[in-house]
Symmetry: none
Subunit: 221 residues, 2 copies
Amino acid sequence: MKVLVVEDEIDMAVSVSRLLGSRGWQVAVARGFEDAIQMIKNEVFDICLLDLYLGDGYGEELIEVLEQKHIPVIVLTVVEDTPKKVKCLRLGADDYVVKPFDPEELIARIEAVIRRIKGPKKEDLLRYKDMEIDPFSMSLRIQKKSVYLPRKQIMLLIKLVENAESIVPYETLLSYAWGSHEEACMESLRTHVHKLRKVLREFSFDILSYPGIGYMLKYIA
Amino acid sequence: MKVLVVEDEIDMAVSVSRLLGSRGWQVAVARGFEDAIQMIKNEVFDICLLDLYLGDGYGEELIEVLEQKHIPVIVLTVVEDTPKKVKCLRLGADDYVVKPFDPEELIARIEAVIRRIKGPKKEDLLRYKDMEIDPFSMSLRIQKKSVYLPRKQIMLLIKLVENAESIVPYETLLSYAWGSHEEACMESLRTHVHKLRKVLREFSFDILSYPGIGYMLKYIA
DNA sequence: TCACCAACTTAACAAAAATTTAATATCCAA
DNA sequence: TTGGATATTAAATTTTTGTTAAGTTGGTGA
């Protein structure tokens, strides 16, 4: 779990960080709009806690940006202001919590949002043709035979199977398997795809290339 | 949108129903646990508003049942009670609203929950006639068949579809696909438009020229 | 401690594909 | 008819990907 906390008051940032950190979650703090934008670019977060009243006044704009990046947002403010609340929720915020809040409630709300986002996905096995992946144990079976793959390769395959027969953009693969979409990893991605191909081709699957866009998993007749 | 309201106070049930009904949503009211179970069995609901303090005292159990059926739940109560709140959220509730609540806020929270549930599924596809583009994976489908196009061509097509049947100026296309509108790229733009035309004409689309201004995508009867 | 191994990354170059450039043909309005 | 713009085509160039091999890292057991 990686949480982005956007907060300009140091005290609040520290106490929230402690709270989340004690939960075993990774926390990154951004002090304002620009700061947050920068961090989103380089890292992948599961959720964002956003203080609406930033010094720079760009709280609402940030909601829209996060929404577009598919990062869920919980808005934190000191003000109980219903029109503002409604506006934020409409803009794409997932929840709205007024300070001071009970730490347990905040945790519970974060978990509720995360559960909702990730919940529907964690269904048993991923399947495509005669391929089965248990994403929890990261084990793969093709034609009833279990096939071993190193971690990175399995992770790539998971995303490819989840979107079998449709293009999976590089960013999706990179952010899932590497946690960030930096140019540096592309090189590595290619060699992993190459190794994965070698294995899959023995079972008449293939990974097709879409230059500049991504890869697609397909079954070859 | 079908909403299940579980509420034993008639007044509240009526006012909530009116509120949601005025929104154009279908509303069904259950008066207690048994009643609710019955309705879930026979109908499919998009969301449930649950008064925790039912006469029969089975509010929390109902959360678990709804959770299992993958029906999102917003808990409504008259009591601001944090431990209870936390417990409900842990049990699977998606939000927790204390009465009396602002009608607009309730609506906004319902929409936020729904958005979160359905959000990842409803890929925002661009459409024009029987053409579909997923701008994220840059993949194109025409007449249910997937059609491959190189990156620049897809990017041009995205802008053309976004403004289908109206003129898209050169500058728009250039700045989207090339990031700058320099004269140098015009030559290249023409070549790509030519290639794009060749493909689209097979599916009875065409790109019309407006010399000195731009291009327009159109469906040819 | 050290050698070894597997997983992963990096680097170098070949191959393929996409994009641009250039040369020529066509269209249209003044 | 003629000049300016666009269309078409082919060739040149650049970018991106595939492949191979060598280098790094972190863990394991002698």
